[in-house]
Subunit: 340 residues, 2 copies
């Protein structure tokens, strides 16, 4: 591999500079993506067409100069693979016509396998070939809790009170669904590694709506199980969005990298997560500022994390209306940085 | 006052039992409220009619047996008092036709004064009289940051990226608006105390979308200023929803009570907030469970917080579809509790 900075940093090895990539780097901020997106009938078609997924996955490597490609896909591949299809409604988000409510609903779901996500496998293989060792290729999945939240709620939500109603009123039922999602996700991520993913990230997008007494039981224990299995074959990143309150438990998970959102103080995180590699964590809204301010904020972040055991990123996906040159300013500042 | 348990607990004094009230206790969970609400054309009319606001404020004291009444009102009284009116759109939330974008917009706003919120003052006076010393009456306001977020964004939002764009790209402009909101809020809360409020709570509903390096600057410093001023005349509660990451800074604010959401571990909070009184923090979704489970969870919460320096509550407002007898089970469990 020509540029293995990110993998070295993930493994805790010394690197000549800090590696950088950006969550949602392959998306609406880029002109090539918007063109491809306009050429298909919906978002799902883009996810399911390996040639197009490959094309938009590669674009940020060329245009932004990031140190990794992350396969263009969606965390909701998993519910669909289990037999619960969804639609992505423009400017509204995902919508499931049917949601999971009963034991029967859960029994009707399958534990997904390769044939249910062959388009992702094919997109990874094609992208790996096209990358030709330029930078590492990252795979990903949603956390079981996050997938559970969509499957029970049927869409995004401010409170996810339908999902949470189930964990409080029917915890056994909730666990049986979480088990099935976890088993599917382990298979899915192993397939991604076999198809060329050099590292896998688990996005716990909705873990932050759980509490100090429910996070382990309904989210983290399942991510920990996935991390145990996947760590045997590739470095694993866990991104527990909004779950800083669970940091002590998170520190015990068998993963090399912890993704941090912008709520987290880097110095505090270093104390808690010790020798793990940290990834993050500038507020994506900071990229709305002028480039001089962006440069300064990026340097402050780099100073705080230090040059070792660190992968620079934002604290969440980049927002669609962010100017490309502001994103580039962030990337370039990281690449030009010399630890003080 | 016949029942001053809550005020004693707020002040750190010993009480014969733990006091309890519930955020959003005067609202859609109660039949009387729904009847009153159906009799007016919109939510705003209810807020602006002292007799009706009084009636729905008193209902939970009678029906649920809580240890405090909180005046029925809305945090968006403040923008309106400053000259920025809003509409409450059924099942969607607040909507501002005009939003704040420029220096001129901010200059056009007034620092509100009594005549701009006389209906709240009148509602408080009437309720105080009707309560006749039965339980304390609580006043409240949104945090300046939370009000700022609505005034710039124009509605609720998942990311509040418009509000945050302003703090990152035009911080001076943002501070000038926050200053004006803060000055107005201090006047407003002092008026509430003069009209009969025995304690005031500041709701920082959207502080949690700020970060470790922006929370003090754009939210907490303004709440701290309000707390300094108001603590001279009444006990103050600060409720920093989703801002556990800023706990160390929060501990230094000059307020007697800290409201906690369900993310926060009570034992950790006791260590950080030392001799402050803590309020909270059961997940409102727990009230969807059966009453046996609710009782158990409530007792676990009570055990964790201990009987002193504590006001029992949920970790956020009760959800509208919660059965009244489940809410009552929570309240009764607190009232029957004997510290183990």
């Amino acid at each position: 591999m020509q540029n293995d900075l990110l993998l070295k940093a993930a493994k805790g090895e010394e690197t000549s500079r800090v590696p950088v990539w950006i969550m949602r780097q392959a998306g609406r901020i880029l002109p090539g993506y918007r063109k491809v997106r306009a050429s298909v009938k919906d978002f799902t078609q883009l996810v399911k067409t390996p040639e197009l997924a490959c094309e938009v996955t590669l674009e940020p490597v060329h245009v932004l100069g990031v140190d990794a490609a992350i396969i263009f896909s969606d965390i909701l591949v998993i519910p669909e693979a289990m037999g619960l299809p969804y639609q992505m409604i423009e400017s509204k988000g995902p919508h499931f016509e049917k949601t999971i409510k009963t034991v029967k609903d859960i029994e009707a779901l399958r534990v997904g396998s390769t044939e249910n996500w062959d388009y992702v496998v094919n997109a990874l293989k094609l992208t790996k070939k096209e990358l030709n060792g330029k930078v590492p290729l990252l795979g990903f999945a949603g956390s079981p809790w996050t997938i559970f939240a969509y499957m029970t709620e049927g869409s995004g939500s401010k409170t996810f009170s339908v999902a949470k109603r189930m964990i409080f009123s029917e915890p056994k039922l909730a666990h049986s669904l979480l088990e099935k999602i976890t088993e599917t996700t382990i298979r899915y991520l192993k397939d991604q590694v076999n198809a060329g993913a050099d590292l896998v990230q688990i996005f716990d997008s909705w873990g932050g709506i759980l509490g100090h007494d429910t996070y382990w039981e309904f989210s983290l224990q399942y991510m920990a199980r996935i991390a145990d299995e996947l760590s045997k074959v590739a470095p694993v990143t866990v991104f527990p969005k909004g779950a800083y309150f669970a940091s002590e438990q998170l520190a015990k998970v068998n993963c090399r990298v912890i993704g941090l959102d912008w709520a987290v103080n880097p110095t505090e995180a270093r104390k808690i997560f010790k020798d793990k590699t940290l990834q993050g964590n500038m507020d994506p809204c900071m990229l709305y500022a002028d480039t001089k301010s962006i440069k300064k904020a990026t340097e402050t972040m780099l100073d705080a994390f230090g040059g070792r055991n660190y992968i620079a990123n934002l604290g969440h996906g980049v927002y669609p209306d962010t100017p490309v040159d502001h994103v580039k300013c962030f990337v370039d500042t990281v690449k030009e940085y010399t630890p003080r």
